[in-house]
């Protein structure tokens, strides 16, 4: 029987520390299994979020040995368990307890993005016609499971705490899905520039690297949105045109 030690951050908004737990590990286990085992056998009150245990719901985000990951999709054989494994909550968000953080800001930020509004239906039966090729890039963005790992690593939020100025990569992906939706009729470009602070992103691509859904956040969502902002705000012809708009 193999044993492994996990250093799990225990604490709340007032503070906390890593605490050692040693538990047995078996074939195929993921980090979340180890946490559950510790919870069942040694620490009933250890707080952790999870739902699906299959990488589908985005609940179990944490920092494993400092790397933002889904605990349910991180197998123990991918990490070195001969040394203690640290498991900490996402550091960008305020602590609630142990591995659970207050991610409510994300829900508020999302609400500020102008909702989907379709054009009038294409067919008399109230339906739309869309080609698969035209929706594939939007479908990439809609794979997002709202794990907020990208928000966790983005330095604009993590280091600079600019929650009021920048909506973060997750919401750039959300806005991109709406902007590139072939039947949507709204324009979010001005909001992206002002309220949602797309200019703060300096394309470090850290968000893309951690996305468990392999969404190419920076290249496919943020850069095209930045281009739209440039087109609309800095293109001289467009600028002139806007001046004469009511």
């Amino acid at each position: 029987m193999t044993m492994a030690t996990f250093q799990i951050w225990r604490g709340d908004a007032k503070g906390g520390a890593l605490k050692d737990y040693t538990t047995k590990v078996s074939d195929g286990m993921v980090v979340l299994d180890a946490v559950h085992q510790i919870q069942a056998e040694q620490a009933n009150d250890l707080a952790v979020r999870w739902n699906c245990k299959a990488g589908k719901c985005g609940s179990c985000s944490a920092e494993v040995n400092g790397h933002p990951r889904l605990m349910c999709m991180t197998r123990l054989n991918q990490i070195d368990i001969t040394k203690p494994v640290t498991i900490e909550p996402m550091r960008t968000f305020p602590s609630i307890k142990d591995l659970v953080t207050d991610v409510s800001w994300n829900f508020r930020a999302k609400k500020t993005i102008t909702r989907f509004k379709p054009r009038t239906p294409d067919a008399p039966d109230g339906t739309w016609r869309m080609q698969q090729v035209d929706i594939e890039r939007v479908q990439e963005f809609r794979k997002c499971i709202e794990c907020f790992l990208c928000q966790d690593v983005c330095h604009v939020l993590r280091d600079h705490q600019l929650f009021d100025e920048f909506a973060g990569p997750r919401h750039m992906v959300y806005a991109a899905a709406l902007e590139m939706n072939p039947i949507d009729t709204e324009d979010r470009v001005s909001d992206l520039k002002k309220a949602h602070g797309i200019g703060y992103c300096n394309i470090t691509k850290c968000c893309t690297k951690v996305c468990p859904e392999s969404i190419t956040i920076t290249d496919n969502a943020i850069i095209p949105l930045k281009e739209r902002v440039v087109d609309q705000f800095y293109d001289p012809v467009r600028k002139l045109f806007r001046m004469f708009q009511p």
Partner: protein
């Protein structure tokens, strides 16, 4: 009454999966104030896990499809124990509900002419499942969530309801706690919609999440509502079996839809060995025809791997019991074999089944384009639930509605894949609509303060017993082991009697469970309370299963292996008797109108 944080809504929806969100949206559209409570964060409910798709007779891929065929398929799949009215409404309304999702931003995969694409699934005669790759549930919940947050609904996330409150015969509120601080919350409401999902956590091997502790079933039961069909649990034939930590995770039926075949350790494609009579005319009798079917040949009949889930699960059990299973107690599901048919099979599989490819690669170190998967049955869905009126979704308690997996009726003895997601939006909408109507016609009732204080006191008892007492997880694991072993796929009278004895002992242990720590986000505490729901509903399952002395759909009795025509005329109803004990009665199924009978006949 002590001072509790109190919220007042016209309609309170408990549960924020597909059914709850759809109900909340509809109730809100009806012009009443709506509160929505859920145990997890918004968007994380079980619905997010659904893979294969949403069944609706859009007839985009095969124009022979229409609601009548869908209705007949649903009834056949449910072995005619379905509430026929629900099966009818569901088949008729699912297409409009699916299109509505598109109007709210859902992006289903497309046909070449730009309409919603549909795929084949077990028990559905024509390609009927609207889908987005294998993440249809995510698409649905996100669409409803993103639409719902702009409808003025008050959302109470990470909040668990522990009891419904009544004023006389009518439901008037709910009492629960929020997870973050562990504080109690009192909800007053004129009408309540239960949309809490299923009970899969009563079993050891399950595809279900931690939330599936039968809360809604137990809340309704405690409030005096009738439950029905609790003996019918769907064991999905294909769950992962290896490594142990992933046992139970679902392997989508889509693998078989794309041509995956089931084989035993001798390499035999055993599903051809046992095709039930009522499906013979629709099922391929050779491998070649099966392959033609999955590649879209409309003249071909479906391969036996796509028979209904109950049947496929039992065939797998039979092979395992006969010693023809795989090393870890399953059988083989092989999609890699299609390389005999397609030159670029590996690419094709990765493109068609990306999530399964990754799931096995990541969790089991197995490349499904090269090797067969080891799979076995996993507890997946409960057909039984709150007995409701087919049109309004109101339970037998006034003002209490139920929709989605927690409600019974639509699926009868066995649910067809894809019929749950459509169920959620069809009956979620109806429940929301009728709850709003009810709320408008009734005043706010009176909450009994003493009753509330008693519940609060009860809920805190695990802390009084403290960490020195037995923890909740040990009792929950013991229950899961027992239900898996004694009230699983294959059932006998003796085993279920034993289960009932076992449940009595577990109940005695549950009232002694204790937890340490404090009330802030304490999963041990939450689990101690969930236990009571699991135990009550496990008893309902065991009692109903004992009483149904025949085999039908999701319920298989080794001691009564055949269908009994007489048992096909009633549903089993469970309720809390006046003495507090569980009461079981047979409720005759009402006569189906001639026009529906004709539809079934025409589609035989």
């Amino acid at each position: 009454m002590a001072d509790y944080q109190t919220h007042e809504h016209d309609v309170l929806v408990i549960g924020a999966g597909g059914a709850g969100l759809r109900a909340a949206i509809e109730a809100s559209a009806g012009g009443v104030s709506v509160g929505l409570v859920c145990k997890s964060l918004l968007g994380k409910a079980h619905t997010v896990m659904a893979e294969g798709g949403l069944a609706a007779a859009l007839a985009n891929v095969d124009d022979r499809d229409n609601w009548k065929v869908h209705f007949a398929d649903t009834m056949r799949g449910g072995q005619y124990l379905n509430n026929w009215r629900m099966a009818q409404l569901h088949a008729q309304e699912a297409p409009a509900r699916a299109h509505e999702l598109e109007g709210w931003g859902a992006m289903f995969d497309r046909t070449p002419d730009g309409r919603i694409l549909q795929r084949n699934f077990g028990g559905h005669r024509y390609p009927r499942l609207a889908h987005v790759g294998y993440r249809t549930g995510l698409e649905m919940i996100r669409t409803l969530q993103d639409h719902g947050i702009h409808q003025g609904i008050d959302v109470h996330m990470e909040c668990t309801v522990v009891r419904l409150l009544k004023d006389g015969d009518r439901v008037v509120g709910a009492f629960g706690y929020e997870r973050e601080r562990g504080r109690f919350k009192l909800f007053k409401a004129k009408a309540i919609v239960l949309a809490t999902g299923g009970i899969g956590r009563a079993y050891k091997i399950t595809s279900n999440s931690w939330e599936y502790t039968a809360d809604g079933h137990a809340l309704a039961y405690e409030a005096g509502a009738d439950l029905q069909d609790m003996e019918f649990i769907q064991f999905h034939p294909t769950g992962m079996v290896w490594p142990p930590s992933v046992r139970g995770i679902l392997v989508t039926e889509g693998v078989r839809g794309e041509g995956g075949i089931l084989k035993n350790s001798e390499g035999r494609r055993f599903m051809f060995d046992d095709i039930p009579d009522n499906y013979k005319s629709q099922t391929a009798d050779n491998a070649e025809e099966g392959w033609r079917y999955v590649t879209g040949d409309k003249a071909a009949r479906r391969p036996p791997e796509l028979l209904t889930r109950d049947h496929v699960a039992r065939c797998i059990m039979r092979e395992v019991k006969a010693g023809r299973g795989s090393p870890h107690g399953g059988v083989y599901l092989d999609i890699a074999w299609i390389k005999e048919k397609l030159p670029n099979a590996a690419e094709h599989i990765k493109k068609k089944l990306p999530s399964m490819y990754h799931q096995f690669k990541q969790l089991a170190d197995l490349d499904i384009t090269k090797e067969p998967m080891e799979i076995g049955p996993t507890t997946h869905y409960v057909m039984g639930g709150v007995r409701v009126d087919g049109d309004s979704q109101m339970s037998t308690v006034s003002g209490l509605f139920a929709a989605g997996e927690v409600a019974a009726g639509l699926h009868g003895a066995n649910r067809l894949g894809g019929n749950s997601l459509s169920d959620l939006i069809v009956f979620g909408k109806r429940a929301g609509e009728f709850a709003a109507t009810y709320a408008k016609a009734n005043r706010q009732g009176t909450v009994d303060g003493r009753q509330v204080d008693d519940i609060a006191k009860w809920a805190l008892e695990p802390f009084e017993r403290g960490a020195a007492a037995e923890g909740p997880y040990q009792v929950q694991y013991a229950l899961q082991d027992m239900m898996q072993e004694l009230v699983g796929i294959v059932r006998t009278e003796a085993e279920m009697q034993k289960a009932l004895d076992g449940l009595r002992e577990l109940k005695a242990r549950a009232v002694k469970v204790g937890v340490g720590g404090h009330r802030e986000y304490n999963p041990g505490w939450h689990s101690s309370l969930d236990l009571f729901n699991l135990l009550a509903i496990s008893e309902a399952v065991a009692r109903s299963a004992l009483e149904r002395r025949e085999s039908r759909g999701g319920h298989f009795r080794e001691d009564y292996p055949n269908k009994d025509a007489k048992a096909g005329t009633f549903n089993l109803v469970v309720r809390k008797g006046r003495d507090g004990e569980m009461e079981l009665v047979q409720a005759p199924i009402s006569e189906m109108p001639q026009e529906l009978k004709d539809i079934i006949e025409a589609n035989k």
